[in-house]
């Protein structure tokens, strides 16, 4: 029996070009706690081969608010990876 590792499970939202590349709009991912946005992006790029096209530091949002690479993640957070914005 291995020592239990606490994890954080978050829902990743993908949009526009990122959704096209990865072929889906949502991914559920579990990370060792404590985890940051940067940890999530690193693990995504490692786990999904198509995700290697993602920038290493994409624009992100946590629960619909702009985030930074070191923003902490909590259980159940919705993390959005935002391709270059093109509104207006």
């Amino acid at each position: 029996m291995t020592a239990s590792v606490e994890t954080v499970t978050v829902k990743v939202l993908l949009f526009a070009s990122y959704a096209d590349w990865i072929g889906r709009e949502t991914v559920e991912i579990s990370l060792p706690a404590p985890a940051t946005v940067a940890d999530l992006v690193r693990q995504l790029r490692d786990e999904l081969p198509q995700a290697s096209r993602l920038p290493t530091r994409p624009l992100t949002a946590v629960n619909a608010v702009h985030a930074t690479a070191d923003s902490p993640l909590r259980e159940g957070d919705e993390v959005a990876l935002l391709p270059p914005l093109a509104g207006g």
Partner: protein, 158 residues
């Protein structure tokens, strides 16, 4: 009815202007962004705008609130999503103020912040049938670009 900044309907600029005009606000500055027929040397047939809607609505509301806090203005803002033809309006902003300088400044602020913060994307469909996601930062190298973080959005302008 809850106000929505995103709409699939054609934008009605006249209504937007009247919605901010008032007898104590003498100047209305506005900005309308139209779908252009070319981009980066390619002929555009139509555009498709999509959004992370809940966040886009919240960011639009925050931008309007920031502008109305910073200047004595009333702001109206509407961004279209879905499929747009060349020449149609993608975004419309109207800002009424007692004095024109404030109206212009706040209007410029709103469009710049919208482009910087609001999660909206556009896919261009070209004359040859192909399509591409637009990266305004680097139109010729969209996928290779390292994104700069928006970080604490609005903090720069607080």
């Amino acid at each position: 009815m809850i106000h929505s900044f995103l709409t699939e309907q054609r934008l009605d600029v006249t209504s937007l202007l009247s919605s901010v005009g008032a007898s104590d606000r003498g100047g209305i500055a506005s900005f309308v962004g139209l779908v252009r027929d070319h981009h980066a040397g390619r002929q555009v047939k139509r555009l498709e705008y999509s959004a992370y809607a809940p966040m886009a609505e919240a960011e639009c509301a925050a931008i309007v609130a920031e502008a109305e806090t910073r200047w004595p203005v009333r702001v109206a803002l509407s961004h279209r999503i879905g499929t747009l033809e060349v020449g149609e309006a993608a975004v419309a902003i109207a800002v009424a103020a007692p004095h024109r300088g404030e109206a212009f400044e706040a209007c410029r602020f709103v469009i710049e912040e919208l482009k910087r913060r609001v999660p909206i994307w556009k896919r261009e469909w070209y004359a040859d049938g192909s399509s591409d996601w637009v990266n305004p930062v680097a139109p010729h190298a969209a996928t290779a670009t390292e994104q700069v973080e928006v970080g604490s959005a609005g903090g720069r302008h607080g």
